[in-house]
């Protein structure tokens, strides 16, 4: 029996997915030994958060066939919400440092970010995507893509108009001594950011794999007619998907507020990185996006470490070009079947 598993493992290792996952782990471990464990820590934290943004993006692509370029703006909405919710909380904490608000305050800010993100996703669906879908689904991919670009410009400028173009940041979420793991000191905020990302990605994976609604989302992304036939209400799933995707992006924005202060174009960097992830791992492949997020994060961290900070977008972009030339369906294969785009 064990022999059976070994041969299965070897087959997996030879596939694109297995090879790239193992290569990522090996490179991460080797570079950490050579240059110091902080590389591994940075990769894991960046990767965890990137996974949240990228799974939302891939969900929009898989279920709705929308090439979402306004996803970074939901990251921005999340960080903005967290800033305005956390500022009064942090004032209260500085007066009462021992109250339990100091522990759960940041979580409240992140939950608010997720809720506001979900609501703005629903508003976007009701005002922008829903009307377009009802009018015509001809040329859907192109039209919806243009709409998302427009939405992105609109939201960036609305932010600037209403809240100004300055940096709205916080000193930190959790105060206190940094956590020490294997001689590396990680600030509490960074450690918590990773824990939050891991928990959310875990819950999300469970939701998509085992629950009735999660399976319905996957069913719609794989075959929309089949989904209608078995009695799935497509409109309901579309609304659920958009709100979920936007909430994931917003919660990432909220929990990274200590690293990325809120300003109008804060969402562009996570958006581009998430697109690298989605193209690398395969359009619409939800679980592949999680693995892809860590690969892109490692690539970025290594580039900054060995080549220079200015190159952190160049190397991933070059890799994406190679992937598009040699394996256009991505490392983990694409799930997109062209749901609305007949």
């Amino acid at each position: 029996m064990s022999h059976h598993y070994v041969s299965k493992f070897l087959t997996w290792l030879r596939s694109a997915a297995g090879f790239s996952i193992v290569a990522t782990i090996v490179i991460a471990v080797v570079t950490s030994i050579v240059s110091g464990p902080y590389l591994l820590v940075n990769t894991i934290i960046t990767g965890g958060m990137l996974a949240l943004v990228a799974t939302g993006l891939t969900l929009m692509l898989g279920v709705l066939n929308i090439a979402m370029f306004a996803h970074g703006e939901f990251f921005m909405i999340g960080s903005l919400t967290a800033f305005y919710v956390f500022t009064p909380i942090s004032n209260y904490i500085s007066e009462n440092p021992d109250s339990f608000i100091a522990v759960i305050g940041p979580l409240i800010a992140m939950i608010c970010a997720a809720i506001v993100g979900a609501i703005s996703g629903i508003i976007a669906e009701k005002l922008v995507f829903g009307p377009l879908r009802k009018r015509s689904t001809d040329n859907w991919v192109m039209n919806s893509f243009l709409l998302t670009v427009g939405l992105s410009v609109l939201l960036i400028n609305l932010h600037q108009l209403i809240f100004g173009a300055d940096f709205k940041g916080i000193v930190g979420y959790w105060s206190g001594m940094p956590v020490s793991i294997a001689d590396v000191f990680i600030s509490r905020d960074r450690a918590m950011a990773f824990v939050i990302a891991a928990v959310i990605v875990g819950i999300f994976w469970f939701f998509m794999t085992y629950t009735r609604m999660g399976m319905a989302i996957r069913a719609v992304s794989q075959d929309i007619t089949g989904a209608q036939i078995v009695g799935i209400d497509i409109e309901k799933i579309v609304l659920l998907t958009i709100s979920l995707a936007c909430a994931l992006s917003a919660v990432a924005g909220g929990s990274l507020l200590f690293m990325y202060p809120s300003y109008p174009t804060v969402g562009l960097e996570p958006l581009y990185l998430a697109w690298f992830v989605v193209i690398l791992s395969g359009l619409g492949n939800i679980l592949g996006a999680v693995a892809g997020a860590f690969m892109v994060a490692l690539l970025k961290v290594i580039t900054v470490e060995y080549i220079g900070a200015g190159w952190d977008f160049v190397v991933p972009s070059a890799l994406i070009i190679l992937v598009l030339i040699f394996k256009p369906s991505g490392i983990f294969g694409s799930d997109v079947r062209g749901a609305l785009d007949k």
Binding site: R212, M215, A216, R218, A219, Q222, D223, T225, G226, A227, Q228, I229, V230, G231, I232, D233, I234, D335
Partner: protein, 235 residues
């Protein structure tokens, strides 16, 4: 009467295919629609299942008008459609596909009972329950599509061209599985190109030609009808 279609007009965009099609099915019957390619058989099925909305006429299922409803609402009323393309969820396992077929049933225990029932009908699906639907053979996928259609415990099963693209031996298997369902008391509306075989197993049939019902009657009578023999059977 379980299903009554009256003067149904339907088509795609501006192209009208069906012209005043009327048909009916009683509970427990095994009825077929046969006809040449392009006659509108699949269009009829899609219109009944709600995948295209009718241009005119009425579709009454269990005493209720269902013309113009969403497919998901029609499924909830107890009508199950097994399409020609099968529309399986290819990256899900056989068992997941079947559970999706019971999407409208909320009770976990009833879902499990339905699953056991479908596995008892098609033991092959039980043996392959963890295999991805996309990696199964053509015949097995047809079986899975029919099994998925049965998961919601429908009062009426619409089956569109189950023999399409299958090797002769597999066609026989598919007809056998429909026979099993019929013996279980399931009401079936079957669309087929394989006229001889279909008329041999069904109770009643409708002949659809150029978007209109040309003939209707007991399957035995249709087989012996001179027009049918000339056009479809080449005798």
């Amino acid at each position: 009467m379980l299903l009554e279609v009256k003067n149904l007009d339907a088509g795609y965009g501006y192209l009208q295919i069906l012209r005043s099609v009327s048909l009916n099915i009683n509970k427990g019957e095994y009825v077929c629609i046969v006809g040449p390619n392009g006659a509108g058989k699949s269009t009829t099925m899609k219109a009944i299942a709600g995948l295209i909305s009718p241009m005119g006429g009425s579709i009454i299922f269990n005493g209720e008008e269902i013309a113009g409803l969403q497919t998901s609402q029609i499924t909830k009323k107890g009508l199950s459609f097994v399409s020609e393309e099968m529309n399986l969820f290819v990256n899900m396992s056989v068992q997941e596909n079947l559970y999706m077929g019971a999407y409208i049933i909320k009770d976990k225990k009833v879902q499990k009972d339905r699953l056991d029932f479908v596995f008892s009908l098609f033991p092959r699906l039980g043996e392959r329950k963890n295999q991805l639907a996309g990696t199964m053979s053509g015949g097995e996928r047809k079986m899975l599509a029919i099994g998925r259609g049965m998961m919601s415990d429908p009062q009426l099963l619409l089956v569109d061209e189950p023999s399409f693209g299958l090797a002769p031996q597999l066609v026989a298997d598919v007809f056998d599985s429909l026979e099993i369902l019929r013996n279980q008391g399931v009401t079936i509306l079957l669309v087929e190109q394989n006229v001889t075989k279909t008329l041999a197993v069904t109770n009643r049939g409708y002949i659809l030609e150029n978007g209109k019902i040309g003939l209707e009657g007991k399957s035995n009578d249709l087989v012996n009808n001179p027009h049918v023999r000339k056009v479809f059977l080449g005798v």
